[in-house]
Assembly symmetry: C2
Homo-oligomer: 544 residues x 2
Amino acid sequence: MKSINLREKFCLALLGVCITVTGANAAKRGDERIVYDGDYVKSREEHGAAWADEDASLQARLAELEAKYGKRPNIIHIMWDDNSLGQVGVPQMNKVLGFDTPRINQMAREGISFTRMYTEPSCTPTRTAALTGRLAVRAGMHNVGFPPHGMGLHKNEVTIAEVLSDVGYQTAFVGKAHQGDIKQSYMTNQGFDYANFSMYNQFPFIGWQPGGMADGLFKSQWDKNYTIDSGFRPLGFVNQLEGRKGEAPRVFTGNSRPEYTKLIRTHQEIVVDYIKTNADSDKPFYLAYWPHVFDPARAPDSLTSNANNWVAQSLEDMDRDIGEVLDALREAGIAENTVVVAMADNGPMHELAPLTQEPWFRGGKGDYLEGGIRVPAFAWWPGTIGEDQIVGDIVTVHDLFTTFISLGQGLKKIPTDRVIDGIDQTALLLNGDGHSRRDYYHVYTGNFLAASIKQQFKRVWVGAKRGLIGEEFTNVYTDPREKHLKMPPYLWAWAPFDHMKERHEALIRKYPHRSPTHGRPYEGIANLSAAAQAVADGVPTTYE
Amino acid sequence: MKSINLREKFCLALLGVCITVTGANAAKRGDERIVYDGDYVKSREEHGAAWADEDASLQARLAELEAKYGKRPNIIHIMWDDNSLGQVGVPQMNKVLGFDTPRINQMAREGISFTRMYTEPSCTPTRTAALTGRLAVRAGMHNVGFPPHGMGLHKNEVTIAEVLSDVGYQTAFVGKAHQGDIKQSYMTNQGFDYANFSMYNQFPFIGWQPGGMADGLFKSQWDKNYTIDSGFRPLGFVNQLEGRKGEAPRVFTGNSRPEYTKLIRTHQEIVVDYIKTNADSDKPFYLAYWPHVFDPARAPDSLTSNANNWVAQSLEDMDRDIGEVLDALREAGIAENTVVVAMADNGPMHELAPLTQEPWFRGGKGDYLEGGIRVPAFAWWPGTIGEDQIVGDIVTVHDLFTTFISLGQGLKKIPTDRVIDGIDQTALLLNGDGHSRRDYYHVYTGNFLAASIKQQFKRVWVGAKRGLIGEEFTNVYTDPREKHLKMPPYLWAWAPFDHMKERHEALIRKYPHRSPTHGRPYEGIANLSAAAQAVADGVPTTYE
């Protein structure tokens, strides 16, 4: 429960105006210069003084840790695809679903389980949010890229890797980036010292190959009579690149299923090796490990008892891999100076692939319902994050940008010429339940605002019904599956939600969204095949 | 995982026939004389020898305990209304739903959480199942009684209280029985030494009063012009009785809301007092505490943060009460000689009352879907039931009858002239996950078989679609919400499920169901009001 800060109120009432404690304290760390969204600004006005006091105590704890370990904490952000809150990390749900995630369950018991971690509803926007601390729509990254798109993250977006590099971290990216296929969007051009990253998602690996699920892609499937535009179908694309900052990346693997199966293992080995190699470095590290995870290329007899379900088996394998990462940290002796956040990037894709269960919430990937955006998430930092915590506060993937940078003492390097949606949640990590500084979230699907969440209430702006009647409300405590979206009991919330939206839109008028960034795909890749180059040459770079 | 018992198989293969170890060992305890349903008999043929070995080891442990404490274990069965697996006992779900059940969560951590405890889909049948160990339909108790019904549990049904009384237990019933309003059905006439029990459910307390939800019941609401049959509306009914075995029970409370609120507290006090009073008795006790729990008569400012939701608040109160029961056992020094099973009686009534959330499963009370029959359930027995277990085996409320009687060494007293559905699950309680002796359940709604469950598969016999196409299947691991009931992937299971149903129905032909038992309500109540007597006199006792 957040209480009104009486000290600040009193000051305002007696003096009419006074220098707020908030600004004064926050200025020391750079936080006050950041352009935040309306509802956080409003809350900071109410609680700023208390938060500043809490921050002072948190900074003292972090300074102690830095003195003890001789450097700021290492940061690992593990983020996988398409998973709903409850599918991993809850032992009862393991039994319900018939597969086991003992290592994530253990991670949860050794740290925090978040029960209201919100993401954007799809891979690309969530990953943009984690990288930039911004709603993806602000960065023009609300679209989902497929090969060969000629689209991606703009070079002027400032990523967490750039900020943390700037304050002395070494940075690495391993796994799925899905931030586009244009040169400026490569992770090697977005601040990472090392990156082994895919430009798109897993579909090209899993299904876009002869005999796979892609209907009509391959030459053998082309219409023999009427095909005029031979460039319509992309053959020869590439997905996974590897490189170092400032160098031309190289294509790391082909697109076949065996290569993909191997890639998943290789990524895990790169991560474990990275931890071992950098454990004793003078510099702390930031590592984004966003594994591909899902692999249908399995012999049936290797599958879990959750019969014939490679999604479940993939999650069991991921669970083992996450356990190995934590083991590696312990074995390297750096567990107590490393914060690990592990989470999914959005809800399950169950409408498209019923193999991915929908255990708790309604809706799935792409959807503004809880099933699309409320993900399993865990934080682990032995000795600093207390054990066995269930945290019910609202927190979002955007917050990790600001929080990790705060832990790295880099708040002053966050750009101040744009809106930053991520809020510093150091207090939530270190002090636990009830210490979030966020009580709201604006949920975008594509480039429009679909719903807004405040406390346990949610208002749908563009719902299943057309027009005014579609502006339904729900209470996600009493109706967690959002089956009874309705208006009359929540008419008291009509104006407050309108005001919230107006605050949000006023700031957009001041800081307009970036348009999607287009360009020629695959530029600057050292070893691009002729076939991929030919495909890239056919992609339009302008639409006028 | 159950492995095929090779020893037994080998014996059969070599000798063609041999005396099974099963029969020989089980005979010592009386288990082999009981008439069980087909699928258990089939499994016992496969695993009997291994189970007999396990039983011998379990009996040795129980004998040690009896020697240590000087008596067989006390048994407490707590069972509340209308709750789905996950609504209590899972800390992550507490945060999801916005209310807390810390004491049940603690109970779970100190013992077993069952994740596949199945009940019948409604109060009356589930309670009959717990009392008799039989599918309620076999006892003619598939109907739900409301005042004044003139219907109830037949005197020739043998209850757990009768069997345990017979082998030296003292027995008590406190709370909601819902086993009917005819004299033979009173808990005081069904084996309980002491009973404070309601004949119906909570609706008469909660809503059947002036200003309540009952439309048209009260004289002020009667049609002034056309009411001819003045006996159609029941005025003057009673619900809660108290008495001792063999004595005429007395009406314990009126039906007003304040009296109901007080009754809930009184029941809790009776239970705690019963534990204190009987802790040092020479006789062990069996206590059925089936609390009323749900109380809408609350000041709004006393409610939990799960705003204005008295169902959530009632569950928080129940959680506190269950904690008090466990505390009382510890304080009385008998916790380690007392097994407590706490559970719900069926799924939430969310179709009728959306206040009761549907967090995990589809369907609710009355339904054959998992949401109707898969309930939260916990077992606690410090020192004997291991801590922190999540048990994914199938177990049903019927099994508690046989299991509790087995713990009380009363298997030989279970009647052998009828089908007993309850299976002795002592191995599951003491040895945990993977030790259930049940892998099936036949789900009745009313008096017809609606679905059958085997392993993780379920076949619907009377589904949402008419005729053959309604005979759908599901896998409750991969589709736990039963959204994708379908036939083609499970045609391999068509014949096996048919065979299972044929085994079940063949036994019914041999042991036909009892018809519902009718009679004059309220006979033998010591202090019945004239108004209630008048109502009782108007109830038909025959329908021919």
